[in-house]
């Protein structure tokens, strides 16, 4: 079973993603901020990261920059889920391991499952 680490500081949003991904057959863990995400990564590496951009404390981009500087975390594919980053920025975000950008305000269970599945497939190719 593939593991998804959700990095989202809105507990209710994180719970909705968890519900959808668990129903899709994923093992899900949650971190409520960038620091909590790094702690989770130290414990166990997930197969995919689902990251929000606007977080309290260090934001999602700062987290991705940190991850890219660690060889252990470099290969983990990232799906960004944000209401402030347009998907047109995806090419410039690929350097951070971002394989998909999802718009929070139009997200559905199907779109989330597709993006996570696609990120897993691309990472294993």
């Amino acid at each position: 079973m593939s593991t998804v680490l959700i990095v989202e500081d809105n507990l209710l949003l994180a719970e909705c993603y968890t519900r959808w991904l668990t129903a899709g057959g994923y093992d899900v863990r949650c971190a409520i901020g960038a620091q909590a995400a790094l702690d989770e990564l130290d414990d166990e590496l997930p197969d995919v990261l689902l990251v929000d951009i606007l977080l309290h404390g260090a934001n999602g981009i700062q987290l991705l920059q940190t991850l890219r500087s660690h060889s252990d975390f470099f290969h983990i594919p990232v799906v960004l889920c944000s209401s402030v980053v347009p998907s047109t920025l995806l090419p410039s975000l690929r350097a951070y391991g971002v394989l998909a950008v999802l718009d929070k305000s139009t997200l559905t269970r199907r779109r989330l499952a597709e993006a996570v599945g696609k990120a897993l497939n691309e990472a294993t190719v």
Binding site: N10, L11, L12, L13, I53, H56, G57, K104, T108, R109
Partner: protein
């Protein structure tokens, strides 16, 4: 010269207006997104929700909808005060602080529970009365409590206190979130009451809530301030103490 000043004033007004609209749109996205997700989950029969889970999601739907409604209500009042809109009249009268604090606490308790937090009110031994408008003071407090809940760590407490000082009553709302630096406190002090920033790169930092609180407090002759504690941050509102005999 006057024409130039007017033009500058108009430009500044539209810049402020745009910032407020952008920040409001951004802040409203969060509860509306949640409402959409919860509605999707409730409608999705393949998720096999139990009756208890369904009831829990419906309760959350109500909490989140109330948050969105509070924000729109506060935005409307703030706009009417700012524009000095004709016909928008509100009374200032002696108000029992304890009653309004208790009422704000009661309203926000379900919201705090969603974030695994508690809100408590440490009432002074003698009830204090301030010159205020009951509804507007209620809006001020709910906004400050909501702000504290968003910045607080889970399993902690938001504390409200009322203290008399130099003919004024200070209403404190304290969170136990991350300690902010003295420089950040200084920056916040300088920006309190100014136009919000639509996008700052961090969650919940547009400043829209504090902008609204600052306007509402000013309309009652009061002011908004910020203080720093060993742990967390305190936002406070100073209001004139009523000289009327205390009947409570």
């Amino acid at each position: 010269m006057r024409g130039r000043n007017n033009r500058q004033g108009q430009q500044s007004f539209f810049a402020d207006e745009t910032a407020v609209v952008m920040a409001a749109a951004h802040e409203l996205k969060s509860p509306l997104t949640l409402i959409t997700y919860i509605a999707q989950i409730l409608a999705d029969k393949t998720l096999g929700l139990s009756d208890v889970e369904r009831a829990d999601y419906l309760r959350r739907l109500q909490v989140v909808s109330e948050r969105a409604l509070r924000l729109t209500q506060q935005l409307a009042v703030s706009y009417r005060i700012r524009e000095d809109q004709v016909g928008f009249v509100f009374n200032l009268e002696p108000i029992n602080v304890n009653m309004v604090c208790e009422s704000a606490l009661h309203e926000l308790a379900p919201y705090a529970r969603e974030y695994d937090q508690m809100v408590c009110f440490k009432a002074a031994r003698r009830a204090q009365t301030v010159i205020a408008n009951r509804e507007i003071l209620h809006d001020v407090l709910t906004n400050l409590i909501e702000n504290a809940i968003r910045h607080n760590a889970p399993k902690t407490e938001v504390t409200m206190m009322a203290r008399t000082r130099d003919g004024k009553v200070r209403l404190n709302v304290h969170d136990n979130g991350e300690l902010i630096s003295a420089r950040e406190v200084l920056r916040l002090r300088q920006t309190l009451g100014r136009s919000p920033q639509p996008l700052t790169g961090h969650a919940g930092t547009s400043g829209l809530g504090l902008y609204i609180v600052s306007q509402l407090a000013s309309a009652m002759g009061g002011s908004l301030g910020i203080g720093r504690a060993k742990r967390g941050t305190t936002f406070f509102v100073d209001l004139y103490k009523s000289q009327q005999m205390n009947l409570w």
